[in-house]
Amino acid sequence: MKTTEPLKKACQNYEEDLVLYYYGENSADERRHVEQHLVECACCQSFIEDLRRLLPRMTPTETLPQSFWDNYYRETVRKLAEQDERNSWWRNLFAPMKSWLVPAFGTAAVAILAIALVMGKGKLTSFIDRPSATLPQEVLADDNQLEFFRSLDMLESLSHLEEKDDGQLKPMPSQSSRPKSEPALA
């Protein structure tokens, strides 16, 4: 082990700025602020020194021979050509069909729809004409209940008419309260 000293922690509110400072990603103001702090803080100085020693060594610096890159390029271009060839094969296969494919599908769709309507028409008619006796009880409406709801509708309409009348005419006072000088309204 190179050192047995405990790891010095940077100031918590500066640590992120120190990382950015190491990578040169601070703004000018931030950089000045960090540099002023580094003058005063040994822990943060130690943090930056550790980054400067450690992080460059993690960057891979292998330089591969030119032959590797020549092979890589040739292989990539070959793969691109093969991909192009595969895509062209599919396009060429379906290209002659394009001229008749859409009309053919359209005609088939119309034919299927027509057949479905013809075959289904009889069934639809029979459904409509089905006597109520074959309908489930939950669907059948009770005549009495319908009459009750119709009367409710009528009552609601009457009250609307009355409100309308009240709005158009002055309210008719009762006989005893009417001043004697005023003529009665027609």
Partner: protein
């Protein structure tokens, strides 16, 4: 041909979108090294990195007409590649820290973590540091690891990383901070 190599990405992409796919090869030439290194960062395996980065090119080519130009081609391509690498990492759920030994004559990452005048015991320590770094990276959430590798290894800015990861710059800063703090915590004794 030299003139074409000077063309901007947008010009090459526009030609590809018009059906002149041969211009995509110039984009391959331009970005194949970066693509491979990103994939290698994630997978630590040269063969897998080659396959993944080439898959990313194939996918980008097949989707080139869907590229709407709102971001740069590179950011869009990067995003495709990173997503492929993350999917691969999820399927395999293990990153093996390998070097490009046998492919390159440069020192491996393991050797980099030791001093230049290292002794055998120091090389053992470097190997241990390597394993510790691998474990720390592997234990991180995917997004933290992605943000760290894109910044530290690939040199993307925080703004670019935010576009690749489809998140905010503030979130990237948090990921980066946490990743670096965790690595420092685990590796500082080896520095």
């Amino acid at each position: 041909m030299a003139d074409v190599q000077q063309w901007r990405d947008e010009e090459l992409v526009a030609l590809c979108q018009q059906g002149q796919g041969q211009y995509f090869e110039f984009l391959v030439q331009r970005y194949m090294q970066k693509a491979f290194h990103i994939a290698f960062d994630f997978t630590r395996n040269a063969e897998t990195a080659k396959d993944l980065s080439q898959d990313a090119f194939l996918r980008a080519y097949s989707k080139i007409k869907q590229f709407d130009g709102r971001s740069s081609f590179y950011t869009w391509f990067y995003r495709l590649l990173v997503n492929l690498c993350l999917d691969h990492a999820r399927r395999n759920s293990r990153v093996v820290w390998e070097s490009l030994d046998g492919v390159t004559d440069k020192p491996s990452v393991t050797a980099q973590l030791s001093d230049s005048h290292s002794q055998p015991d120091q090389e053992v320590m470097a190997g241990e540091a390597c394993r510790r770094a691998s474990q720390t990276l592997e234990a991180m959430p995917n997004k933290q690891r992605t943000a760290f590798m894109l910044r530290n290894d690939q040199g993307l800015s925080i703004a670019e990383i935010a576009k690749v990861m489809k998140t905010t710059e503030g979130t990237v800063r948090v990921y980066l901070h946490r990743a670096v703090a965790a690595l420092r915590q685990s590796l500082v004794e080896f520095v």
